[in-house]
Symmetry: D2
Subunit: 337 residues, 4 copies
């Protein structure tokens, strides 16, 4: 059975496992105050080119989004997001559970635009409505698309004009940054938003996300929020050790590049075999459209997610590749279709 | 430098690391729906002698307490706890952040009693006050003490009489159950409370707590709460694999027994040298009382927590042993005092 | 200046003021436990034909919605509503502030349907998404439309099939029930939903809404939630006295009928003068569409709300009549257009 | 039956009823944006001698406390209060329901001190604990005691030193300020705290509290919080009209002075008859201690609250006077004991 279900089906990259094994019996202080975390934070600050950023390590994406967003907002603030945004759809109302409405707009490609943001802002006119406080975008998006630098600049300018924070969910940041169509680099990010996170869970780590807070006004006392929301790992060093390994050289981006390459190979192969796509994906998520018969065939040899069913009964499926996807698996899968 | 700061200074027990390494490249579904989690849950249900229990795996203690307690209560309910209870003091108001007051009583030894619970219940008379909904106790407590079976039965009866849920925080359950003074076994627990958790982080795992829900009315749709509070681990199998290793034989209790043995050796040694104790601890937390000079001496050779300062300026410190504490370290430390 | 801004521009109906004056120096117990509240609750139970209902009096609509909905739901539940629903748009995220997401669908007329509800339910498939728990509808709606008995039965059946509670916001219930197109009566309501509120603020009272809880499982300990959410009025009798006056005869419905009659007179008059309508309203909200010049003219002689601006730059305005609107004012206003 | 149960047993002072009657059919805009509210706010700003203050009108005390405190704090902040503080005991966990822990100290007289505050601050040392954010005190307290100007200055200085906001619950502010032992005036208050409220419900109004925000950093966008917490009254002018009447001359203080005078007459009379007091009260709450026989006698002729039962079985009761208490009632009651 081929597995294209997601990018977190395995444990971790061997180098990361080695690092965890090597350090296993070291004694460190808890809660992320150890030297591995300090070192990883420094490596990340260097990688993003922002020495003044604050870097915090959390275990998972929903936890990171919920903790950061609820810490950044006041009670009357809402979040603006694409309707497909992870915080809107797939986090069981975690943001609302901290008291904040998520206001959305439908988008064809999972990407917000300055115009959509402005439209949502303009709709909120007085104290009988929530006040837009923060824009949430995903890079890459839940549909595999990526924002270009120009798009991010435009969104960021719109946010600044309207007094909105801009927060980037980087669960799949490695795939975004190494995508052929993306001209954004790690060092651009601090100039383009107020906070973002560098996703590890979906990029070869056992778990772990590195939240990078750029805006000075958001930095203060952030560790209280991590603890209050249940995200402070006792053996916090596990996060530091894993990110150290990712950022002591270019491993982080390499893993994303590999996932993309496998997805592109898969996408090209599917197209060559005549499968239409929901849209060409520049990253590690591929969305072919299948007839019911094709769907049955695919299901018999591979694991994947059903994305949606079209009015004509065809199925859009989502195929995901990762750092761990082998080229032989892609080729063998294609050959069996 | 000796390290008696806590029981989570190292990574994990070698057998657990082996299990993680061995399974690293297995492909599994995410979010705890894999076979390792299913197997671990079965082992735990067998170990606690309750086939109908629901077992959920979470990453840490605060997360487990917050998720479970907020899921179990309605909005007007409060939690009853000892003033020293972890949820009251050391979780940055996580319970309150989910909307629930924690009502407490001071206790000399960190242990609630049926009388104290009844007193708190009696004080809450009408709708102008919160309504007691759940009793929180820790086994072992934050002061290293343990509840006997008779004490738990008495508390449980009081809870049932007053319509209260009883929840046991088992962050250090292994040490409690293997303590010389404790007559409670794993199989007793399902009969003595509505839910409890089996702590892994402080007993040799990288991270992980196993929540065991016994009361049928609390079981429904619990996975929604785990996700909503940010506790659903993408690679949930990591929790299953670790608990499988702990419960496929008696490793879980052995690690607690070792921690206790080291603490007792330390405690006896300190007494022999004339250091008074806050109270004799039957588990892995030891609380000697030091003069300022002694405190300085201890500080120069070991890491530990300052617990409190007495009116006469003496210091109570907390020394913690763990599965990883070596007997030679205890002996060498004692010899240097 | 004519005033068609809303239905709460004046104090209260003279009979209600009389009742408040007459009882002013009576001494009663506080918090709604007095005899006026008991009597008013009995009158309402009789009026709705449900002796087993629980009736609670609250001060305003947002407070009532927030208190009831947060009391009825568990943390993972969301509310299903029309996009124009008051809880979604005009309550500053009060529902979300209690932790619950509001999931919506756009509707042309402000009315949900069983099909729209089913669609929202079907979209929520697992624990990564919120779980639909309650359907919120307004009778009459924010667009002045009303649900017929058949429509409510269909919605109610859909709710019961899907395990959803049905809650009716009756801020303008008097206008709905006395509308020409509405075949629903007060005594129908307990059979058609789990809870509803009878709006007083917009129907001639200084303030006050009567929440009627029909579903037994929602009744318990409700006064705790009123107090916790800040809605328990110390001099609760003020609510009882006002509702007593409304329900000791048919005043409540008469006031709604008058508001409707004035709106219909206004609507017919506007149509006669050639103003197009957003849609014919059967209740006390009228939505004419104005050219910019007409808008300026209207603005110079009357107060009202701008509802929306159409792509062709015409303005939809909202004209509201009430128990206090005088026929002469309507006629005089029409004559000046 | 005499009624000493509370200070909100009647409707409102005749002058206030007159004002409401006189203005009943005026048409105004809603939500407190009318001229009566503007005028009342100006009168209050003049009365407290602070033109830059922001004044908001809310319906009740719990609502005011909950709305203000949750607006002023960030999520990790706790409230510091006396154990007897209204927010801690008698608001059904309203503060916790907005996410904030209330940390308390027992006090003999219901009054916090700078030393107690400092002690609570010192106990909270790191991010594993909530962070003290705001001190809550009541003037007069729940035990009828009052803070002197010196005491408030000392508390305020302690707050400023520790970065804490100081909030004064003035539910019974009129009685506090007109007490013989109190040297604080209305114009002192803006210099002594960050925000306070002027209680109307317990001082002759149908309902209503005037929140006065002094600290500039707390003023912004406050109306959003009033709406979100359900406290925005549609016919907001009712609050303005009542406060206008209270502050267009000295009515507000006169009503408090009368309540105090009646309480003092009662207290002196009880002492003369040999009843011991819990403590001498300088305001409108009197706490005699009764034997079981005396308690039965009192209960047969008057309504009041049982405050507590002493170990020797004697009962402490609370007798409350108000603006509406008649001297003849006090004298007649005393004569029947």
């Amino acid at each position: 059975m081929f597995n294209f279900k997601n990018d977190y089906s395995e444990g971790c990259h061997p180098r990361i496992l080695d690092a965890l094994t090597r350090t296993n019996l070291e004694q460190t202080v808890g809660y992320g105050l150890d030297e591995h975390c300090a070192n990883a934070a420094n490596l990340i600050k260097k990688a993003v080119g922002c020495e003044t950023a604050h870097v915090h390590f959390l275990v998972g994406g929903t936890q990171t989004n919920m903790t950061a967003i609820s810490a950044f907002l006041r009670p009357h603030h809402c979040v603006l997001a694409a309707a497909t945004g992870h915080v809107n759809v797939h986090e069981t109302g975690a943001i609302e559970a901290t008291g904040h409405k998520v206001v959305t707009r439908p988008t064809p490609d999972g990407k917000l635009t300055a115009a959509l943001i402005q439209d949502m802002v303009d709709e909120h006119t007085d104290e009988h409505m929530v006040k837009p406080g923060l824009v949430y975008i995903s890079q890459s998006t839940e549909l595999g698309t990526v924002y270009t630098k120009g798009e991010l600049e435009s969104i960021h300018a719109c946010c600044q004009k309207n007094g909105l924070l801009l927060y980037i969910d980087g669960a799949r940041l490695a795939c975004a940054l190494t995508s052929d169509v993306c001209d954004v680099t790690l060092t651009d990010l601090p100039n383009l938003c107020d906070a973002f996170y560098i996703g590890g869970t979906k990029n070869g780590m056992l778990f772990g996300e590195a939240l990078v807070i750029v805006n000075d006004t958001l930095k203060e006392e952030f560790r209280f929020f991590i603890k209050q929301r249940g995200g402070m790992l006792a053996k916090g060093r596990l996060l530091g050790i894993q990110f150290e390994e990712q950022f002591r050289d270019s491993l982080y981006l390499e893993l994303g590049r590999h996932a993309n390459a496998m997805a592109q190979r898969l996408q090209v192969g599917l197209e060559a075999k005549g499968y239409p796509l929901l849209q060409r994906s520049p990253t590690n998520l591929v969305f072919p459209i299948l007839t019911p018969e094709q769907y049955e065939c695919f299901s018999s040899i591979a694991l994947f997610e059903l994305w949606s069913t079209l009015p004509d009964d065809r199925k859009v499926i989502r195929l995901v590749t990762s750092w761990a996807t082998k080229q032989e698996a892609v080729d063998s899968f294609l050959s069996q279709l």
